[in-house]
Assembly symmetry: C2
Homo-oligomer: 157 residues x 2
């Protein structure tokens, strides 16, 4: 990916570094299917309608980046499945955030895909909440340090 992801040790670009890892549409679709329980090459291929060489390349990268681990499940024929590492599984929050925005703003036919929270049984989407108190986070109730340099007069929103 072009951009700032590689050339900086600056703490401010965690966002860029995440994108450097997952910033590919096929990769995200593979991760999404993995959260639904898909683990095998043929199942990914069939679900996504993705070409074998592209799928093979993306799975290899996901293993190299430590998001999936590859496990043999059959001798004859020799077959592997792909399972989340902890690092990979922790992308769940990113996936459901992308999904929530995409469902709301970037689709032609709203309502065709639904996420159900089994805890309360309702159709839902993901909202960002505070890891410490559980209350919703929004642009007006968070502060990031260090903040970007913004002239004081314009910093208050």
């Amino acid at each position: 990916m072009a951009g700032p992801a590689r050339d900086s040790g600056d703490a401010a670009d965690a966002v860029a570094r995440t994108l450097a890892v997952v910033g590919d549409a096929w990769t995200l679709l593979i991760l999404r299917d993995a959260f639904y329980g898909v683990r095998r090459f043929e199942d990914f291929r069939r679900n996504l309608g993705i070409a074998r060489n592209i799928l093979s390349h993306r799975l290899k990268r996901l293993v190299e980046q430590g998001l999936f681990e590859k496990r043999q499940y059959s001798d004859r024929p020799l077959r592997y499945e792909y399972r989340f590492t902890d690092r990979g599984r922790d992308l769940f929050g990113v996936l459901v955030a992308l999904q929530a925005w995409g469902d709301r703003w970037a689709r032609d036919e709203p309502g065709r895909m639904t996420l159900t929270h089994l805890g309360c049984g309702r159709h839902a989407h993901a909202v960002p909440a505070c890891s410490e108190c559980g209350e919703p986070l929004d642009p007006h109730n968070v502060r990031v340090d260090p903040v970007p340099v913004v002239p004081e007069v314009r910093r208050r929103r």
Copy 2:
């Protein structure tokens, strides 16, 4: 972006469509700064250390995609600022999810950048919560319909 974002009306690819809009590291850094209150070309440029032509191109795209609106704030010299539309502001959840993952897994020096939830006053990161009941979402307590085609025997996790 290469991949499935363009060629499908399938409801399953909201994720891919989101990435088609925001899947660029500079774009996400610009959006992140915008959430901190940055609005002006020179402030973006200084904070990000981004080349003028790249910044100019990204801001133009953000306006075209309906994430920012451009407002004149000075006659002499002629100057504009960039403000979120509702569609753009709603990317907050995506940004903080990327940030949370990046802080945890994709950085060299943990702890340098902190997010504080002003509601409870504590250092925090974003966790995905149910829009309906507020409880945390995780891969095991959500169901998505339609689900990918996975052989029944392997669907139970």
